[in-house]
Symmetry: C2
Subunit: 207 residues, 2 copies
């Protein structure tokens, strides 16, 4: 075992774990090597530099994170159903990757232009944007025309829902500290919250 592709994958997994918990600047290549069960020289063999390794990790994460969300927002379903779908997909994803929002936000903050460029080469940004602006906006306009919802811009709709979904994970240490929701209490709090989040969100848009 431990052929080349398996080793490369192990390094990538280890790098993801370390980058996600320490940030790229705070991460040490030694720690990545330890976590992968190899030595630093192999990181160089496979990825050449820490910079390139971090880009590979970011690519993998961003590629898994964004497309499904955009798809759910733009699915050909009633607005209420899309909201429930986004909530469902996102809560499931975040349950498995709770520290990922902090990582993504941290990287985009530390190296905004580099990361933006990276995402642009990775995802069909323009197409995604158009889908949101056309498809989602049309659905929202139809709802408001029918008097079932107040008028709202698609951009705001997306930002507001994503704020509720993502922020608690990114701010977890702060919430634990200020509100005294440590460990399991925090998890329980989020689970309960997630169950009623879609309804609350839709109510905020009631006519």
């Amino acid at each position: 075992m431990a052929d080349d592709t398996a080793t490369e994958a192990r390094i990538l997994d280890a790098a993801e774990a370390v980058f996600v918990r320490r940030g790229v600047d705070g991460a040490r290549t030694q720690e990545i090597a330890d976590e992968a069960g190899v030595n630093k020289a192999l990181l160089h063999y496979y990825f050449r530099t820490k910079e390139r390794l971090s880009e590979a990790v970011f690519r993998r994460i961003a590629g898994a994170f964004f497309p499904r969300i955009i798809a759910a927002f733009s699915a050909d379903e009633p607005v209420a159903e899309r909201v429930r779908r986004v909530v469902e997909i996102e809560t499931e994803f975040l349950r498995r990757h709770p520290f990922l929002p902090g990582y993504l936000l941290g990287e985009l903050r530390a190296r905004p232009e580099a990361m933006k460029t990276l995402v642009r080469t990775l995802l069909p940004i323009d197409a995604m944007r158009e889908t949101v602006r056309q498809n989602l906006q049309a659905a929202l306009d139809a709802e408001s025309a029918a008097g079932r919802m107040r008028p709202v811009r698609a951009e705001r709709f997306v930002v507001d829902l994503m704020s509720w979904l993502v922020f608690p994970y990114a701010a977890r240490p702060m919430i634990e500290l200020i509100l005294g929701l440590e460990g399991d209490a925090f998890e329980a709090f989020l689970a309960e919250r997630n169950a009623t989040l879609a309804d609350g969100f839709l109510r905020s848009l009631a006519p």
Copy 2:
């Protein structure tokens, strides 16, 4: 001019600027010295280490950020008024310090235990927590008993409102990228959003 306290303050201001835009790990003491118009040796003279300097900066920022928000949440006013107050205070503060959420979240993520300890020595966490749990929860319970609002836990109330307020700033590069709201368009988007944010939030809690 340039007596000792002025120099120390200039270093602190410079450090804040650099830490906020690069994160502590990404910051170089040389850049802080340049921005303060002094040399690296003086940083050591006043603050001994980069670590201590970062703690001083964090203290100043956290001390300015949290107390006013907690006070607004717990003010002796109707719930709707408190919400509008929190929104007003927070939007004004964030307008002047738009990169601060990213900094705070980043530090609490990179060094959660150290930062938590620091905040505990800085703020009366337990008292703040009790105020939220007692005072705010009582106000929310009264509203729901009167049929003006659905029942909600104070913790959730706080997290949901803060999510809407803070997340767009922390996620600014991502929002600019995905939704195509660059520069001024982003500012305009937020200004418009902030104006109706309190009402939308209260609607989400309608009975």
